[in-house]
């Protein structure tokens, strides 16, 4: 599986990756909207460089999770995890429910709210134009400092761990994205704490789709159990009514007339 490794200690914040991404994806000029969040990502920008403490910079983008929440929640399957690793979006399927935006633990997917025909937009790791042709994404290509590099996920993990080991005093001893939410396709190593990552500092190692899985697997059994239960209940109430009617006939020896609802209320 392909992945990207970003080394915060190497990034100089030049925004080359952002420029390359904007031109590769033929983005409209970046504009500030009332719905823009302050991380710089928007429906027209897939990656942005954030300034951290001590003049460190970090690149924010889609993490291409190993088991992505967005893919699991899309009701029409417009989001898809490709075998190569990138999570891609099919605008032709989308119906615009924006559940993916709610579900993403990192708040990555953005919406082109300004359009009358809006779409969900996020980094695709240049899947159509580059990954498929065996090339690397434009952002990693544009980086002059090798701060963000592209490769096989396993390989990048070893690279990251080697750096952590060799310069143990420099880095925080954690590969961000190795295990977070079941692993992500974009890894970070950093000398400063990266708490920009998600809605919470610690997102845990559990893949998020597992949270809905129990509820969803229970759907069909619940459906039929309720059906069977209701039918059984109906049978019981019907029999009870019959028994009550028969008792009445036994005592009064008169065939009961059509029972109306008033009778029922009086009896009860």
């Amino acid at each position: 599986m392909k992945a990207i490794l970003t080394d915060v200690s190497k990034c100089i914040g030049c925004d080359k990756c952002v420029e390359a991404c904007d031109s590769e994806q033929k983005q409209r000029p970046y504009k500030l909207w009332k719905w823009s969040s302050d991380d710089g990502l928007s429906g027209d920008r897939f990656t942005s460089v954030l300034r951290l403490d001590n003049n460190h910079y970090v690149r924010k983008q889609c993490r291409h999770c190993v088991s992505p929440a967005c893919v699991s929640v899309c009701p029409v399957g417009a989001l898809k995890k490709t075998p190569e690793g990138p999570v891609v979006y099919d605008a032709d399927k989308c119906m615009g429910c924006r559940y993916c935006m709610m579900a993403c633990p990192y708040g990555i997917p953005r919406y082109t709210w300004q359009d009358a025909v809006p779409l969900v937009r996020k980094c695709t790791m240049c899947y159509e134009n580059r990954i498929k042709q065996g090339k690397q994404p434009t952002c990693t290509e544009a980086c002059t400092e090798e701060a963000t590099i592209f490769g096989e996920r396993n390989h990048l993990l070893t690279v990251a761990k080697r750096r952590l080991r060799q310069q143990s005093d420099k880095y925080i001893q954690k590969v961000y994205g190795e295990k977070d939410v079941g692993g992500t396709g974009v890894l970070y190593i950093s000398p400063v704490k990266l708490n920009f990552l998600g809605w919470k500092e610690e997102v845990g190692t559990n893949p998020l789709p597992l949270l809905t899985a129990p509820a969803m697997t229970a759907v069909l059994p619940a459906f039929f159990t309720v059906g069977a239960g209701m039918t059984a209940l109906h049978w019981i109430t019907k029999r009870r009514q019959m028994v009550a009617e028969m008792k009445q006939t036994e005592t009064t020896h008169i065939k009961p007339l059509d029972r109306s609802s008033e009778d029922e209320t009086e009896n009860s």
């Binding site: 504009k31 699991s72 809006p118 005093d169």
Partner: protein, 607 residues
């Protein structure tokens, strides 16, 4: 009279919503809503969909009571409950069309499947359940058409299986609406997040369904001056109090099991909202409805049912929106347009409900008296006129208020909703004093004289604006100077490793700096630059290299100039007989006098 007022009000809302709804489809969500990238779900999901589905739960609860539990005494109100449910679900579907970005793609749900998605499941269930409710209710309409008697009979016969299927589907999607939020443990506030959210949603839907039947029967009873058997509704109230009691126990036990009890007593606004929600939706009404005296009084029933309705709509809005505010850090207040469209949907549903009540046998009794309100014009043979008071009277009145609403909406429509969303513009301050700006480019409290024209000229005229002005950095009015002039105030690291290796001839050269070969070749273990470059820092240099300054770094240009020139000139003022050479304006000659005076007051003349 009250009926007329209520209807006029509803038509007024319809008028407003027609205009705002049109604006929403013409100019998109951005122009008409306050939704943001971090709050992509707003009132249309929280109230229209989540709340709407829950409010429509009365249908399956009551149908189940009558057809399955055979509580025959509730049969007179089952039709109204089914109609409410049908219209409620229709309202949910219509509301969803406003919320979806690409509503014309909603049918994709049928052909593109993703069974892992709770929303997929909800979508299918709602579709099927709408069909079932339509079939359950259609006899009310069909029985008026003699030609379709056989169809009507068949439908009435199929009522039981339809009801069972309806209950099966309702169980699923009422709970699945809770499953929607299961995947957002980080977004939701811990008080609301729970692995058993689906169960809570289902239980609360049953309680709310019962309350909704009471509410609706009481309100329509008031509107049409018809008396309901209070003992009928009080029975429902009793059931509701049991369900609500169970709901509270479920909530509290869940909090205890999750170990979140502490959150209940935390000092935060969420805690207050949670308590308010719990008391409004369940605790207070459950307590009220458990008292027989209150249950048997009309006012008591109505007020407790209203509490439940408000409380649980509030609960749905909380779960799908308010509980996420702390995590996302963005507040969201629905725009007036969003509210008006929600009102449009509700008003339309209520008007259709009233229409059915007036024209069909919704309650198992004749609707005759109400017909007069909408009777077609009658020809009066004596005076040779059409007597149209009752018919055209209401049409005229409703058209008038509808047009008034539309006109009001047109008048008050905000700018974005007329032209499409416009980007936020941060006005750039013009150079007021000559062509130089005194700006605090780095936001460090230090002002510099900035030659705007020179920057423009050097960086490529108009193309260069975006380099600095609110284009490159999110929410930054301009790019800080130090973004380009990186060495401006910083210690600078200018070491060129390749050049050193070349000049020192590879292998031998390595040992020169990396003396101890056993140590890892890192920046920390390397020989100081000063060892070779003895002139790098003069012994008597005025640039202070303090403890914090990393070795091997050279001072920044600004530091060097300021440090060397000013310090020296201050010391040797008298000697050199150039007393003003330690002042800002000595070097910053291009500063206008006014600015120099300002700078002097700000930073003072150097001592």
């Amino acid at each position: 009279m009250k009926l007329k007022t209520v209807k006029a009000l509803l038509w007024f809302f319809l008028g407003i919503g027609t205009i705002t709804g049109a604006a929403r489809f013409l100019f998109g969500l951005g122009a008409t809503t306050n939704l943001t990238d971090t709050t992509p779900w707003g009132i249309w999901i929280g109230f229209d969909v989540m709340g709407g589905v829950a409010l429509a739960a009365g249908g399956f609860v009551l149908a189940g009571s009558v057809y399955i539990l055979r509580l025959e005494r509730y049969r007179p109100i089952v039709r109204a409950a089914v109609l409410t449910a049908f219209l409620g679900y229709l309202a949910v579907a219509v509301g969803l069309l406003f919320d979806l970005g690409l509503p014309w793609n909603i049918w994709h749900l049928i052909i593109f499947w993703n069974p892992h998605s709770p929303l997929f499941e909800v979508g299918w269930c709602v579709m099927l359940y709408l069909t079932i409710l339509l079939l359950e209710f259609s006899p009310v309409v069909l029985e008026k058409i003699p030609a379709l008697e056989s169809v009507c009979k068949a439908l009435k016969k199929a009522a039981l299986p339809l009801v069972v299927l309806g209950i099966m589907l309702s169980t699923l999607h009422q709970s699945s609406l809770g499953s929607l939020m299961l995947i957002m443990p980080f977004r939701l506030h811990p008080l609301w997040y729970s692995p058993i959210l689906p169960v809570m949603f289902l239980v609360s839907a049953v309680g709310l369904g019962l309350a909704m039947v009471i509410f609706e029967a009481t309100v329509t009873g008031w509107l049409y001056d018809r008396e309901h058997e209070t003992d009928l509704l009080s029975g429902l109230g009793k059931a509701a109090s049991v369900v609500l009691g169970f709901y509270i126990v479920l909530k509290l036990v869940d909090l205890a099991v999750q170990g979140k009890f502490g959150f209940l007593f935390q000092h935060s606004w969420e805690t207050w909202i949670y308590w308010l929600e719990l008391i409004l939706s369940a605790a207070l009404p459950a307590a009220l409805l458990s008292r027989q005296r209150i249950r048997n009084s009309k006012a008591g029933l109505l007020s407790s049912a209203t509490l439940v309705v408000i409380g649980f709509v509030w609960n749905r809005i909380n779960v799908s929106g308010i509980a996420t505010i702390r995590a996302t850090g963005t507040d969201y207040v629905p725009s007036l347009i969003e509210i008006s469209i929600s009102l449009w949907v509700v008003s339309a549903a209520v008007l259709v409900f009233l229409f059915f009540v007036e024209h069909f046998k919704v309650w198992e009794e004749e609707a005759g008296t109400r017909d007069a309100l909408h009777a077609p014009p009658v020809f009066e043979p004596v005076s040779q006129t059409w007597n149209d008071e009752t018919f055209y009277g209401s049409v005229k009145r409703h058209s008038l208020v509808y047009a008034m609403g539309a006109a009001l909406a047109l008048m008050l429509l905000p700018q974005d909703a007329r032209t499409g969303a416009q980007p936020v513009v941060i006005p750039v301050q013009r150079a007021r004093i000559a062509d130089k700006l005194v700006i605090d480019g780095n936001r460090s409290g230090m002002a510099v004289s900035f030659d705007h024209d020179l920057h423009k000229q050097k960086n490529g005229e108009t193309e260069s604006c975006r380099l600095c002005h609110h284009m490159r950095k999110p929410l930054d009015k301009t790019t800080p100077c130090a973004d380009c002039h990186r060495d401006m105030q910083r210690m600078t690291y200018i070491f060129d490793h390749d050049l050193h290796r070349e000049k020192l001839q590879a292998q031998d050269g390595c040992v020169k700096c990396h003396e101890n070969t056993n140590l890892p070749k890192t920046f920390k273990t390397v020989t100081d630059c000063e060892t070779c470059h003895t002139d790098m820092r003069l012994q008597n240099s005025v640039i202070k290299v303090d403890e914090k300054t990393p070795k091997n770094y050279a001072g920044g240009y600004q530091d060097a100039m300021h440090g060397l020139c000013i310090t020296c000139h201050t010391q040797k003022k008298e000697e050199l007989k150039k007393p003003r050479h330690d002042e800002c304006a000595t070097c910053h000659r291009d500063l206008p006098k006014m600015v120099i005076a300002k700078l002097d007051t700000l930073y003072g003349r150097l001592p």
